[in-house]
Symmetry: C2
Subunit: 525 residues, 2 copies
């Protein structure tokens, strides 16, 4: 085991003991999640209901995600801009369906001044605003109100703009990263001359999200359309990527919407086309948020804490000198720094942990909890032998493998130069293994299901997961399924997303009506 100080090794299957303050998944998955967030120093609750504090380690992961996303946005021709956090109530109300969709979760600013009343600071009643302002839950309405000034003719199109911002949706039940009243996100808002161009943009950006999910976060996703009931308020089509968490639940990781001409109509944004006629502009919007960090945690982490894919790890390698005497300290610390410099020269993000007055074991613990992919221990014997001790944050368990074998694969003594030269490849390997492992977990928890009986058994007895089922119901039937099984249609997947065994026509699992193709059902976060 990687954790040398663990007092008790949890029994396989149902560990009874928390490891380093982290509740085992098998005992309580929800508490495990909170423990990983807390012990990994990722985030914490604030004194404001539902608002979280993203701590430096959590924010550093978000910064890496931002960089990966932003580079792709720019490579596909987008620019960033910034629009006001406040939306006048009348503006939000313009697109009716949109307003109805967000009405129940709006933070409302009504006053603009405080004053001392009886020695206590309170709201100045005389500072009441003529019109209340909504703290943006999303920015379609305020942005389209500006686009009106930006667009006259087809020459002004397309507009390809993205915004990095905070948004507020008043949530009653919150959970760090997954569901908070305030969260950080990006929202792309584009304007196009034709429906075809806009729909192409929607697909392009969904694929950017899928690329980041799979090739950066190492989370495999299913791409598809949302049903009418799950669509973004005001959208004509909502596309999404859905990941599966270790517990078999789905998590919506990103959405890309074709908004048709709805927002152009409510904001009255027309353009002169090449034929000299006035037309309404076609819109898209697309977004991902700090929620992705929740997906990252629930896909890869284990009972020792956070596991990070190397591409997102703020620190990819930590080097820890081990010593007893002052002489050993000088020698191993010098070697740790030399190794770190050699790795930095290869573009690896590396940190030397030479904190004094702290046992090596406590350092191992801490960096494991923080998900650092590789640890290098440098002790006096390593110096003698000219080797380095490489410890991986995780290894994929082979079925039936002895504990000893596993440990051997996890912790290896490698000749110094070989270890340094091999590290970029090792990080690549770890990145690939995480995606591979996530794929296997998903496969194991995915079923092609044809009867309601099997469906019930899957979700109520077998732990659930992704169910490929035929469907011909409407919104009422979807609600019926939600009531009975707490499941929802995660998406109507694109053709190429449907596994071989799930293709072809059949009959709806609930109504028995004929169905052209299967949909993806699951419980969801």
């Amino acid at each position: 085991m990687s954790n040398p100080n663990a007092s008790a090794k949890p029994a396989k299957g149902a560990p009874q003991q928390a490891s380093d303050g982290i509740t085992p998944r098998a005992r309580d998955y929800g508490q495990w999640y909170l423990d990983v967030v807390k012990r990994g120093d990722l985030a914490e609750h604030s004194s404001v209901r539902g608002c979280m504090v993203i701590k430096p380690h959590g924010y550093a992961i978000w910064e890496r995600l931002q960089r990966e996303l932003d580079d792709r946005f720019k490579a596909t021709g987008h620019s960033n801009a910034y629009f006001p956090i406040f939306i006048p109530l009348s503006l939000l109300a313009k697109e009716e369906e949109h307003a109805a969709g967000f009405a129940k979760e709006c933070a409302v600013v009504t006053h603009y001044r405080l004053k001392a009343v009886d020695g206590k600071v309170g709201v100045d009643p005389e500072s009441k605003l003529e019109e209340p302002l909504i703290v943006r839950p999303t920015s379609e309405t305020i942005i389209w109100n500006q686009y009106k000034n930006w667009i006259q003719s087809y020459r002004d199109l397309p507009i390809l703009v993205n915004q990095w911002a905070n948004v507020v949706r008043w949530e009653m039940r919150t959970r760090l990263f997954l569901r908070t009243a305030e969260f950080l996100w990006q929202e792309g808002h584009t304007a196009h001359a034709t429906e075809a161009e806009a729909r192409e943009e929607v697909s392009r950006m969904l694929e950017v999200y899928a690329d980041v999910a799979e090739n950066v976060m190492a989370v495999p996703v299913v791409r598809g359309h949302k049903t009418e009931g799950e669509r973004f308020a005001g959208a004509v089509d909502t596309q999404c990527i859905e990941g599966m968490m270790q517990d078999g639940k789905a998590l919506q990781m990103g959405t890309s919407h074709y908004l048709g001409q709805n927002f152009a109509k409510s904001a009255d944004v027309k353009f002169l086309n090449k034929e000299g006629q006035l037309e309404y502009v076609h819109a898209t919007s697309w977004g991902v948020s700090t929620r992705l960090i929740g997906a990252l945690i629930m896909t890869h982490s284990d009972d020792n804490g956070l596991v990070l894919p190397p591409k997102l790890a703020p620190v990819q390698v930590v080097v820890i000198p081990i010593y007893k005497t002052a002489e050993e300290q000088a020698a191993t610390t010098a070697e740790a720094n030399a190794v770190a410099d050699a790795l930095k020269a290869k573009g690896i993000r590396v940190k030397v942990d030479d904190r004094e007055g702290m046992q090596p074991g406590a350092k191992y613990y801490e960096w494991e909890r923080k998900g650092v992919p590789v640890r290098i221990e440098v002790g006096p014997r390593d110096l003698e032998k000219g080797s380095l001790c490489l410890v991986r944050r995780f290894v994929i368990e082979n079925e039936g493998e002895a504990e000893q074998e596993l440990r051997k694969r996890k912790k290896q003594f490698v000749p110094r130069q070989e270890a340094i030269d091999g590290l970029p490849a090792l990080l690549d390997t770890l990145q690939k293994e995480l995606l591979e492992r996530a794929r296997k977990i998903r496969e194991k928890k995915t079923r092609v299901i044809d009867t309601l009986e099997d469906f019930e058994k899957f979700f109520k007895e077998e732990g659930g997961g992704f169910a490929w089922v035929h469907w011909a119901g409407g919104r009422a039937e979807e609600e019926e399924m939600a009531k009975r099984y707490e499941t929802s249609i995660r998406c109507i997947p694109f053709d190429d997303q449907i596994p071989e065994a799930a293709r072809g026509a059949g009959t709806c699992i609930l109504t028995g009506k004929p169905s052209e193709r299967r949909v993806l059902m699951a419980k969801a976060y």
Copy 2:
């Protein structure tokens, strides 16, 4: 002149004609500023009172500034984090002086839901919050409330955290970038075991700001302390950097505060020191905002629009193919792309403007208004001669220089390879020239003044600028000066910031009392 389509060349001194929609500075400096912002596509007003929209070109400049600042924050050991946008009223009110300082400009959230009333969407009166929430005007109170959980012993110190965020200060008179109800900024919040360490941090970060101002923005600054009356609400010491705009007014470009133990006391944040005693923690905070873009504009831009220092220019070089026939178009566009590729390989940010159906002159205009430092024109004759036409966005005017000479320096035909190889050096030169020019303007508008008579003459007849004066007054006297001359003490400069001619003791310009050293007085934005 660089603008081939200009119909009338403005007379020197008092141009009567607006160039390409930009009001000349000599006619109306305030309107010129707004025109530069508008015609440079930097920002615009929104439908929310006092809130601006930062357009893609403006935001791209902000992104470059962010990168320069953030790299320096990280190099000095800081990490980014994120804290809630809302502050409970009772929390804001804890530090009395701080609360009093911001009370008059607080946006207050009082409700969290909308509902349809008589077919119209309105605020749901039943969703009133038990405690109002303030949209953060700055985050000391909410952050120190969290630090309480982070700090137990000296081992937890220092905490070196920065936040990139939006903040809201309800302003009655707003001006794009310079003063807006919502703005973007960074706020550093650090916690230290000793006063000495905290004060060292305050100085370190002020110097980071000065470095970015002078070596990235090319704006020379004076470093110093604020007087008691100008101090940040809740601070023990506020340090600042002050730049001079072309019109002689000062602009505060960044502040760094030693907060003493004030916030630690109001949030009750104590730590166990090495001697095992409980002590209050020492705090600093420091920030710069999108206001810096206003400083950038007012320091360097001219009657043709924005002028950008190369280090901050999102596009450093624009390459424009010139042609009449389709054959020429193919040849010059190919050459433009080849030149751009060669420049990109040198790390230069370059754009080829090959838009069709647009006259070259219109393109020149547009890129001048956007401040691009160098334009390269590629015409058929350049191809023949194997040369490139390099046009600088600006040249420093030498006194008495003939218009023709100036034009020659601005637009040069250079052999192709020489032009490409020389571009990094040319950009360096332009960067240096901007700083040099700004220094000269500042020198020209700076006076060492000993009598109130001269002071009045300087500000009421000679256009004003920076005045080095002896001062022994208090807050009341400062207000008196503000009332009479609209001036304020910009700072009590550090020793090394005072020019030779302004050193030594003297008598206060207003009270006649003895004074140890001069302060810097000016009108300010």
